[in-house]
């Protein structure tokens, strides 16, 4: 019997997870592992992920790679899987508590946000104190990734984030408002229009991901403010990096889903072979797959790579 493994992503409508799945599938083929993949139906879908974990248990797999939609609510199901002798690796987002999984291969989403926040602050220079900031988030249910990126960005920009577990409770007058995008162009455009109508003098836009950024850009272009507003984003997908290169997006934090996925599959293969469990990165409680700032306008004090370089590393 070949070794069985599962990959459970948040959704499969986001290119990020599609690429993650493709990366995992390729690696699994290479190592002769039988990989089944599952996904939530909408952002924040915990129920379907629980059902997926149960299915994996029923199927008797050796390991599960999981990008949790709800990092604390999924924990009992993960515990059940581990009790059944399955290696559970959290990808992309750590569980809450982080030791609920055997290991975490993740980007630090808060850090990803922090990087673009710091970049934006430096980029705006003295204008930063009078900036008018719009935040285009994921969904009103405030899924964990969205909160981490948003709060990281604000922290990096130097704004008091109040409760780090939710967005929208900040009192800084520079914030024009939050709106939600579902992480796609359509939502990005509508949210941008709404906030533009509220305050046409916007100067900085944070977006949850690059499709939302592209939508926001269309809205800005429609009112002729595309040159005057800086857009920052997170993900580092190839269309996003193209957009950095084209000047649509000022800077984005690049993640490496393919890396996470292939590392995860390798860890399962190793576990199946002799029971070894993966190790965390030095000094961290998880295996950091890294995040890099991508911009063609580097600033002092924030490490970054150019869009050209990023194109060689991008996914999707």
């Amino acid at each position: 019997d070949p070794v069985g493994a599962c990959l459970i992503t948040k959704t499969d409508t986001n290119p990020f997870f599609v690429k993650m799945r493709e990366g995992a599938a390729a690696k699994a083929r290479e190592l002769g592992i039988d990989l089944d993949s599952y996904a939530g139906k909408v952002d924040g879908d915990n129920e379907t992920q629980v059902a997926a974990i149960e299915t994996c248990i029923a199927n008797g797999v050796k390991g599960i790679l999981l990008t949790a939609s709800n990092t604390s609510a999924i924990v009992p199901a993960v515990r059940q899987a581990r009790e059944a002798g399955i290696l559970v690796i959290a990808l992309d987002t750590p569980l809450d508590p982080i030791e609920a999984a055997d290991m975490t291969f993740a980007t630090d989403n808060f850090k990803a946000g922090e990087l673009i926040g710091q970049w934006a602050r430096a980029r705006l220079g003295t204008d930063a104190d009078t900036a008018r900031i719009a935040l285009l988030d994921l969904d009103i249910s405030q899924p964990t990734v969205g909160v981490l990126r948003d709060q990281g960005f604000l922290e990096g920009f130097g704004i008091d984030i109040a409760d780090p577990k939710k967005w929208g409770d900040e009192s800084d007058p520079r914030i024009v408002g939050h709106d939600v995008t579902q992480g796609n162009q359509e939502g990005g455009r509508r949210a941008m229009e709404n906030l533009l109508a509220t305050d046409p003098s916007l100067s900085l836009v944070y977006t949850i991901n690059e499709p939302a950024a592209a939508g926001a850009y269309e809205a800005l272009k429609a009112v002729g403010r595309d040159g005057a507003v800086t857009i920052v984003s997170v993900d580092g997908g190839c269309p996003g990096v193209e957009n950095v290169k084209a000047g649509v997006i000022g800077a984005t934090s690049q993640q490496y889903p393919l890396l996470m996925a292939s590392k995860g599959i390798e860890a399962i293969a190793a576990f199946a072979a002799d029971g070894t469990r993966p190790e965390a990165t030095e000094g961290k409680s998880f295996f950091d797959t890294g995040v890099t700032l991508v911009t063609d306008a580097p600033v002092e004090g924030v490490e970054s790579i150019s869009a050209e370089e990023a194109l060689g590393l991008c996914w999707g």
């Binding site: 139906k41 809450d96 939710k166």
Partner: protein, 359 residues
């Protein structure tokens, strides 16, 4: 009586002397086949059951023992318990020719109330559960009042209520999940319905048992009590029901209140199943479509007054079997999604075909 009104030919008098004999046609169907027909005719909920059994059989054949294990089969029950409870509630509304888009959101909201009352207000868990049940009933009552008294379309009332309750859930909870470990430590009663009965490889949770009991009790009430007949009459033709002496308002209110209560129960079931209290649970967003799907697959007419709640339960199970079966077969999520779409159409087509053949 005016004598001049009498026609000369007393043809009406003849009629009175006609024999009091029943029409007697010979029955035209005989044997086992005929009896099967009659059975299907009398108990239409059998039709989705046949589809269900067929689905289980097909997946069993394809996937073998892995699927046909007590573990996997009872897993289906666990996976459908929330949708099953919501479908029971939805059935009641749909039988009255309504639709309830707020069932899932109400369930999530009530689970959040139960959790918050324990962890923020410090109420004992049973009281918190009671408060959650009352809150659900109140939401149902408000829906019912708007539908029955203000005469707004149920679609609009519950659409609005859906958005209101969903947003209220997020606002009230601050989007924070209450972790399973904390509940286990402080208020295990909240997780009561997650308790298990282990019978060999089969696992029945109390939540599953609650769902089964609920469906049976409602099926009895709808079939064998006056209230049940009134629900059907109101859904069939509310004007005729009112003229015939049914208190349409009271019937509608009782249905909506009961549905609110059942949704709150579903919220408690959710805590049992997931261990934690999570305001972002997807049931809040897609619980309505899932329950309506179960109801319609189960053969209840969206125009009201026709169908059985057992059918809706089988409908929920059919979707559960498809989902687990396809997942176990390793179909990727998009293909699973696509195939389930096709299977839903297929299941109802088969259902229609059985009904036609057995008519």
């Amino acid at each position: 009586m005016s004598s001049q009104a009498e026609p000369t030919d007393d043809f009406e008098g003849i009629a009175a002397r006609a024999p009091n004999r029943h029409a007697a046609f010979q029955p035209h169907r005989k044997g086992a086949m005929g009896r099967a027909h009659d059975l299907l005719h009398a108990t239409p909920a059998l039709v989705p059951m046949i589809v269900l059994i067929a689905a289980v059989a097909v997946f069993g054949l394809v996937l073998g023992g892995k699927f046909f294990s007590p573990f996997a089969l009872t897993l289906i029950l666990q996976q459908v318990q929330i949708v099953g409870v919501l479908a029971a509630a939805q059935s009641l509304i749909v039988l009255t020719a309504g639709i309830d888009l707020s069932v899932g959101a109400t369930a999530v909201f009530c689970s959040v109330i139960m959790g918050k009352l324990v962890f923020e207000v410090g109420l004992p868990a049973p009281l918190a559960v009671l408060a959650g049940l009352i809150a659900g009933t109140a939401i149902g009552g408000l829906n019912g009042w708007l539908v029955s008294r203000v005469r707004l379309p149920p679609f609009i009332v519950t659409l609005g209520m859906w958005q209101i309750v969903l947003a209220a859930t997020y606002l009230y909870s601050g989007n924070e999940t209450i972790r399973a470990q904390d509940i286990e430590a402080t208020a295990p009663f909240l997780q009561f319905l997650g308790g298990k009965l282990q019978l060999g490889g089969a696992t029945l949770t109390f939540g599953v048992i609650l769902m089964l009991l609920l469906v049976l009790v409602l099926a009895y009430a709808l079939r064998s009590t006056a209230w049940g007949r009134h629900v059907y009459a109101v859904g069939d033709d509310p004007e005729a029901a009112a003229l015939a002496g049914v208190n349409v308002h009271r019937t509608l209110m009782s249905v909506y209140l009961l549905v609110g209560l059942i949704c709150a129960l579903a919220g408690w079931v959710m805590i049992g199943r997931f261990g934690s209290v999570s305001p972002s649970a997807t049931t809040g967003v897609i619980g309505n479509i899932q329950s309506i799907t179960a109801v319609v697959i189960g053969g209840i007419s969206l125009f009201g007054g026709r169908g059985s709640i057992l059918g809706a339960f089988f409908g929920a199970l059919i979707v559960g079997v498809f989902e687990l079966g396809l997942r176990m077969a390793g179909a990727n999520p998009q293909w699973t999604f696509l195939l389930i779409g096709a299977l839903i159409i297929g299941a109802v087509a088969v259902d229609q075909w059985i009904r036609k053949v057995s008519a």
